[in-house]
Point group: D2
Amino acid sequence: MEKVNIGLIGAGRIGRLHAMNLKYRVPGTRLFAVADVLEKSAQEIASQLGIPVVTGDYRMLLDNKDIDAVIICSSTDTHAQIITEAAQAGKNIFCEKPIALDIDQIDKALVGVKRAGMKLQIGFNRRFDPSFRKAKDLVKEGKIGSPHIVRITSRDPAPPPIEYIKVSGGIFLDMMIHDFDMIRFLLDDEVKELRAEGSCLVNPEISKYNDVDTALVTLQYKNGAWGTIDNSRKAVYGYDQRIEVFGSEGCIQVGNKKPTEVFWYGAEDTRSDKPLYFFLERYNESYLAEIKHFASCIREDKQPMVDGYDGKMAVIMGYAARESLASRKWVTVAEK
Amino acid sequence: MEKVNIGLIGAGRIGRLHAMNLKYRVPGTRLFAVADVLEKSAQEIASQLGIPVVTGDYRMLLDNKDIDAVIICSSTDTHAQIITEAAQAGKNIFCEKPIALDIDQIDKALVGVKRAGMKLQIGFNRRFDPSFRKAKDLVKEGKIGSPHIVRITSRDPAPPPIEYIKVSGGIFLDMMIHDFDMIRFLLDDEVKELRAEGSCLVNPEISKYNDVDTALVTLQYKNGAWGTIDNSRKAVYGYDQRIEVFGSEGCIQVGNKKPTEVFWYGAEDTRSDKPLYFFLERYNESYLAEIKHFASCIREDKQPMVDGYDGKMAVIMGYAARESLASRKWVTVAEK
Amino acid sequence: MEKVNIGLIGAGRIGRLHAMNLKYRVPGTRLFAVADVLEKSAQEIASQLGIPVVTGDYRMLLDNKDIDAVIICSSTDTHAQIITEAAQAGKNIFCEKPIALDIDQIDKALVGVKRAGMKLQIGFNRRFDPSFRKAKDLVKEGKIGSPHIVRITSRDPAPPPIEYIKVSGGIFLDMMIHDFDMIRFLLDDEVKELRAEGSCLVNPEISKYNDVDTALVTLQYKNGAWGTIDNSRKAVYGYDQRIEVFGSEGCIQVGNKKPTEVFWYGAEDTRSDKPLYFFLERYNESYLAEIKHFASCIREDKQPMVDGYDGKMAVIMGYAARESLASRKWVTVAEK
Amino acid sequence: MEKVNIGLIGAGRIGRLHAMNLKYRVPGTRLFAVADVLEKSAQEIASQLGIPVVTGDYRMLLDNKDIDAVIICSSTDTHAQIITEAAQAGKNIFCEKPIALDIDQIDKALVGVKRAGMKLQIGFNRRFDPSFRKAKDLVKEGKIGSPHIVRITSRDPAPPPIEYIKVSGGIFLDMMIHDFDMIRFLLDDEVKELRAEGSCLVNPEISKYNDVDTALVTLQYKNGAWGTIDNSRKAVYGYDQRIEVFGSEGCIQVGNKKPTEVFWYGAEDTRSDKPLYFFLERYNESYLAEIKHFASCIREDKQPMVDGYDGKMAVIMGYAARESLASRKWVTVAEK
């Protein structure tokens, strides 16, 4: 196969990141077109990176026979519709998470993709982080025997603006959705049921929007293992992303990445760096790796490691958590 | 004050440990007498350590006017009764946890202690561990701002024999009781409500005795902070005892202690020690420090840092966890 | 200023690395031309990266008025000559280390650069590593008081081929030269005298070429501080690059970088990654940062942080070490 | 064999430490007598620990038929004479380092011990530290292949008083002597030659007594491996005691011990403890282990792991270092 011709839909922060990676660091691909409803954004990125086709209307990309695949980084409410149309147009699809906040919409999109026989990869980039991936591999190789307890800590350095909170779908669908996917990824097993708690300890204003900024979820896998996840919207010491898998024959821990390896011993104490602060730094490698994976799936006609079903299950878990937070009860995690 | 004359009641493993510490490492005390229902055990320890008074009946110690204080390490079902009698006899009391498995018995014992005006310290030795104590001090000094999430991981290297499991009161009253005390200690705050889950992932036989070997508790403090605890009866890599306190201005983590500081870099990976395996090694310093504290409370007429109320609250939390495990619901933690 | 137009001279491994960085990751520059005596190599790189001008003769780049600066990655024996000619042609110059193995040649080249008033930066990329840079900054800020002892450990994962050893100038001029530069960088001070020892512990064949594969240097700075450096051509566990600066008020240590943050606790021990194996991975960030620095020095008309004098002093130290190895005596480090 | 009856000669700081350990923590021994030229010191320790025999004259201990062994902690200038007499009197001997500052005196003492057929253990306690011992065991088991480079860092938290410096024999015989022993211990090999440098960077007054406070030694083992040692009289961050053994198949590092396992993440950095400050804390376990070893050697009629020859070689190395510091040349390490 020749170079994979890619069209980018959505030229915001994440779109730009994928564009940079595609342009400079993913051999075998060609960033051929960019679309954004704010055509100016699309033009900016196009002139900066030398992208031949620029448009305000993503449908022009779908109609373009030279484009093999699209990367969807537009606003969440447009994902499902674009996926459906893109599949129909015969494009392979990479879509940022979540597919949609509505399960029916997700189902329709997935049916469309299946019918068209196209590939769909969802942007759960953390699966491609070298540390998390190694952790999962060790589990899979049986290095810790049967898993008993999975712990995930995931804390952002600072909360997003209230304007964003309002439309985010809430902490479970916006932030913990990554951890729900990680939970499934680490053990290759589904969650049977979960329960969630949370409150606003960072910023009380968030509660006005029926959301929380500090959340804990306890869950049980179908195979009997337990999981716990904690999220906070604000960790002053940086982006805190740790996992632990404890099993019958051992335990795997993944710690945070730090900007330097410097230790300073003084008369009072020993000091070292805090974790990397910004998610784009922390997950720099995984954003690149997921796009390389997508490109190689197209070229080698393989199924992407994170597919539409994964995208759907994480959303289902998010809703289960929301329901549990309200009811204070265990909620079964099930496809409807 | 002269040396504090101490009588030891119960010459089992923990009794022996306290005896060794008293004899050799706690200045200002004198291990004066030892009682055990198995008089032979008492005699053994007495001859080994040169303890003048030996008996099969603890009441002989209570009647002995030369004895200032008793250390109760007999079986749990005798604690409350001995506390009551010892207080009445004018002895200060150090008692291993738990005071009793019955709240009414605990209450009676505490009333007796109060009426007699004696001191009572409960053996939650982990409060005296240098690492946990420093963590608590940092929290108290406001170094992490307002606490939001407390995480405790507490895993034993190997499960006790089934015979012990049968009479232990269950994982929440036997093992997690230490973590319940630590939870209260770390934030100087009470728990409002909690919920518990668990199952037998280590040894299915344990379930026959209506107990679990893997347990998770989620709880909320009165001040709004969240807590999570996980316990396992078996961590092949040793005694896993970690805590984390996350707050608005930072995070404190306490890791495990290792036997050596050796790192070995080879062609495959880097290797280092696993954590200390045995609780007597891991908490060696804290067992000593708690007895020193007890002795100094007597000499300086201070209230012990871990008193009867602390002993009671941990048991109340244990019952709340048992109830929640059965009901799958939140249970309020309250003194009756 | 417009984009800085850059010509690359030498299309080998390091040349390719700089080319990739310039093309994709250094804004404000344009990789305009490439020259290599093996014209095919130049063509390859040019077609891969879309470089307009390709030639087998670097003089064509010097004659090209559109080129502002050259990056010299040709073989060491050509550096001094090309520097001289490039300066005369009014080009700013980035040159890989060492400038030359002959001090007179170095002097001539530096005179030429000075006379022409051009900028010259030498490729001691480790100065741009975030960890080493932070270490130096902490020293400069007085965080450890007066420096007393500097220790550098620098070990390669595997020795180069014997063919390379023959022409390398020996371990002191080929490998430890980086550490000599680091020694000067860390304290902003010159070395007064040094002594060197070494032998062939890795591969006895190396001794045939009057070289060693394991070397230790002890040195004293002009301000009185001591330094020690050890080098080995083979560390099976990867690329071992550590420094330590010990002073009157504290100590700074820089450890190795590892590919992941995974820790695996098993019944035997705890395992984690070995250090990164390959120098291009380890110093990935510093190679990029040095070229960005060069570009910004040109745009903002600043002196590069690593200049010709630095390049010369490291070579002088290398010769002093060779002399000391032979004489087993202290050798004064001095410009002739 | 019955309990080993031990007489302590010298009731200063180290004598007291051994006395405490013998009394409380070394089963199978009996601290039977204590002698000190300051009889009051002996009496103090005797009454505190209930030692039956007290005297101002160590000869009374040597004459006492009930005493099996003596522990010599008197001032250095008396060691050799007491060893000789004790051996003649049929006592096994534990002697603090160094045996003497005069090689002839050492030789005479060792001859006396040999002739009498008694055991002699020298107090190089660091060999008994669990971390260093594990490092040595790993080397011995071939885990790092052939050793190439040994690095020892040994820094005291604060310099001793000038009065002590005057009579100490200098940094090489007083402080680095421990590292010389460790160098021999780690590889089970002798040093062929060494060279030393040093100066007064901590306190210039020390130079008045022909001594240095900062010292570096480079050495070569008979088998060809290299070693480097650095010492400083003052590390503000505590007692810095690290070793590294680098070999053909790997590398072993031993780091410092810290008082707690607490890590505190704040908005600025991550903080943790500095190393333990005081040598009695750092080497607490090794002081106990060496005396247990001595007792077991007597009971089981084994040769102590650190004998008179070891004691002599460390002194010989100390003198070689002094000579090299003066001559600035390599000095051969050889028994005369």
